[in-house]
Assembly symmetry: C2
Homo-oligomer: 267 residues x 2
């Protein structure tokens, strides 16, 4: 990032960590994009009219190995657009948005659409129906077609100041996070019953020895996201598990290990 905002001087500042963050590992942009794409079945399609104008339209999709599968009618403008010019992109926004909309996680997947054939057509049909059960009513109407978006560019925005691009190769090779979509209950439990452990993690592993309160607001395969209160202001930090986990059932042991490591170093 070489460009800088033209800051008039009154933007809020965030205190930096005072010590090294032990393990800042977090999901890659490609992994974040795959996770978000797997979390919903609605998106907005940008297609091109016959004049080459951009046309934004609401759409449903399923996923075939990360590639969005659309089912659109040639009676609809976006259906005619795709048949005329295969260039397309999809914007997907978290289905669980925060109060401040610009803090929302969102992605853009851009590329070209193709009509799947043979085995891929059958797989694409199943993928769409699995994500959009109501499509069974119209998916076999002769004016509807399936289209697979061949993703060529990926842009991920995780909220203010968290953004990155991913290559198509990385996007295709990545997998959706197995933890974050189902971590809500565990996060509530950590905040309700283990506030002292979270504070020790922020102080010892998270780089904020002056933290006075720490709250967990996210958990994924690599670690925990923490909100931190310090006398210098509010910040966020990251504590990484000893090793990545692959199922929600492994989260408890991973956080117990983090708490143990924080206590030992603290005491």
């Amino acid at each position: 990032m070489t460009l800088d905002h033209g800051d008039p001087g009154d933007a809020p500042t965030v205190p930096p960590p005072l010590t090294a963050v032990a393990d800042p590992a977090r999901p890659s942009a490609a992994e974040e994009a795959r996770t978000l794409a797997a979390s919903t079945n609605v998106a907005t399609l940008a297609s091109l009219t016959s004049d080459g104008d951009p046309w934004a339209s609401f759409i449903t999709y399923g996923l075939l190995d990360g590639a969005p599968v659309l089912c659109v009618s040639r009676m609809a403008e976006h259906g005619r657009n795709l048949a005329h010019d295969p260039r397309a992109s999809l914007a997907i926004v978290t289905p669980d948005p925060p109060k401040d909309p610009l803090a929302s996680t969102r992605i853009t997947l851009a590329g070209v659409v193709e009509r799947p054939v043979g085995d891929e057509l059958a797989a694409a049909r199943e993928a769409h129906l699995a994500a959009v059960p109501a499509a069974k009513i119209y998916i076999d109407f002769s004016d509807f077609s399936l289209w697979v978006l061949r993703v060529q560019r990926v842009r991920w925005v995780g909220g203010y100041g968290r953004m990155d691009s991913a290559t198509a190769e990385d996007y295709n090779a990545a997998t959706a996070d197995p933890i974050s979509p189902v971590a809500g209950g565990a996060i509530t439990h950590l905040n309700d019953d283990h506030a002292d452990s979270l504070l020790a993690m922020a102080q010892v592993l998270g780089g904020f020895p002056d933290a006075t309160v720490a709250t967990c607001f996210g958990a994924d395969r690599y670690g925990l996201d923490l909100d931190v209160t310090t006398p210098r202001g509010f910040a966020v930090t990251r504590v990484g598990y000893a090793a990545p986990i692959s199922a929600i059932g492994e989260l408890r042991a991973a956080t117990v290990e983090l708490a143990r490591r924080s206590r030992i170093s603290n005491g």
Copy 2:
């Protein structure tokens, strides 16, 4: 609508009314579009990359007399796109979606963006901040610009089989519905305490003399939307007030008049 779905023959059928619907008046596509545009502050922008490819991206907006006001950074791809080519469209989806995503109300507003100047710049800034309070943090950064979308085409989809286009003139002249966004409590009251009146309305004014149950699922400035159960199947119908209303406080008198008219005709 001259095109027809290639119906394989097993789509659900809906029983038609048996008598004339007394007053089917309902909001126009232009009014529906203005109402939806006023109901949220997030949309998806379709812009054009320097290669002329479509680029879909999440965005926030305010409204200046129905024209979306965007605030974007030239550090963001969509900001560079708008500066390079003013053609743009916005897709807006109801912030209160039903379970079946394709039953969602959504619109596309298409046209060209312009940088407002003079009095319009000040008004556009206020309109954006009123809708997106968090923008106060960055709206004056030098890399951010305000853009007003000059709407040239409007497409409204109200769910399955409810869709229409509106001219820019009609869209600009229309106003957002003053009733539907605040009618939730009144609808609950009608369904909980006045089921007999709703049934009489469906039988006498709604064209379904064989209705056995009627439930209200919408209220706007012109009338009520009713779900109707009949021995022939499920249908929806419409009952229009004696005259349009302009404030939620007028809804009670309008529905009392509908109930009175249904009882008189029924008895």
